[in-house]
Symmetry: C2
Subunit: 219 residues, 2 copies
């Protein structure tokens, strides 16, 4: 009888520990209160490359603050070219960074004729190179073009509240007519972060998501 | 003791009947053996509209058979225009249909300046209208532009094998670095169908899916 009770206890624990994929995603309700930021293709650029593309000592012009503190959209654009074709009007995001990094949509990679490599920001080893064209010059930058790994920016306090750690991979669940679950969403914890989940335009569209969408984290 | 055994039985059934959203999607393995067809924007056109756009009595030119029997890609394109902008090279799929239907990506709707309305093929009431332009003329067709509801074409025998019915809504689960679960996938059962899951380009890209990807159905 003790064994049976232990078995029942184990079974109950098993039932309770298994989140159900079968439940409706219609009712996310208020979600987990994490804002969604939807990114289109863009480029982070080094001062060295900015000098080549826009002229020696060029300073970026801020047009709009972004969700992450200190990050902003600029009025400046570049053309990104691959072996197959080019994409115009790829917006520069400021401030300048140590390394140039081009963040593309999966469909852009196909259009440019380069492999689609999904990476966390800054993890550029082995990524494809592209030519970047500005009004004053151009540069072929090796290992710079990636598709961003979906991620959630958060502070240590946010991480504690959601019970996750820096680098932890979670799932996120959206409701609505195109709802579903994205697996492999990395939590990026930093004291200089603002709470925000970043998806690219294709990921947002595929789930019918916009800046007002709610989601829940599944660990 | 009888009660306990009954409880254990019920608990076991509960555990077995609950698919887990928490398990890894890395290992889809062979999946359910259903091919994936990825659709870009396209148009199904009526003979009346084809007459207007390409000239009276115009016959479409097949370039490639598609996954569904009798359906084919044509060499002919149209321009689709909305209040904000136009999209060139929207391919016509044959044969001609009773009603003209434009199937767009969500990003196309934003570009054109029309609402994004997700619908099953043929369900056009209340959908936005667009102007369709061909080499010999143009037509404004009301209630014609939709984003396709993701779906699985199958025969009655396939439906029996997968334990689903016509019109049933299921989830589909993909593995890989961009894996996850799409909710709200409708099963469309017809004796003239070929087994195939249709996603649009954005849905495929967001999950890192191509024509060789495997998935499993979750009911």
């Amino acid at each position: 009888m003790d064994n049976t009770e232990a078995l029942v206890k184990l079974l109950l624990e098993a039932v309770n520990s298994r989140p159900s994929a079968g439940i409706s995603t219609d009712d996310i309700g208020e979600g987990d209160g994490i804002p969604v930021g939807v990114s289109n293709r863009h480029i982070h650029i080094s001062q060295e490359d900015l000098d080549t593309l826009y002229g020696k000592g060029y300073q970026l012009t801020k047009t709009k603050d972004l969700g992450q503190p200190g990050q902003y959209a600029c009025k400046e654009y570049v053309i990104v070219a691959g072996p197959r074709s080019a994409i115009e009007k790829v917006r520069i995001l400021g401030p300048v960074r140590k390394e140039t990094q081009v963040e593309l949509l999966a469909s852009d990679c196909r259009k440019l004729g380069i492999p689609m490599v999904v990476r966390q920001s800054g993890d550029l080893a082995g990524a494809p190179g592209v030519t970047i064209v500005g009004p004053k010059g151009s540069v072929y930058r090796d290992e710079c073009a990636v598709v961003a790994l979906r991620h959630i920016h958060m502070t240590p306090a946010d991480a504690e509240r959601y019970g996750v750690k820096d680098g932890q991979v979670v799932k996120i669940k959206f409701g609505g007519q195109r709802g579903g679950i994205y697996d492999k969403v990395i939590c990026r914890v930093s004291s200089s972060a603002a709470l925000e989940c970043h998806l690219d335009v294709e990921e947002a569209n595929a789930m019918g998501v916009d800046g007002s969408s709610k989601f829940t984290i599944i660990k």
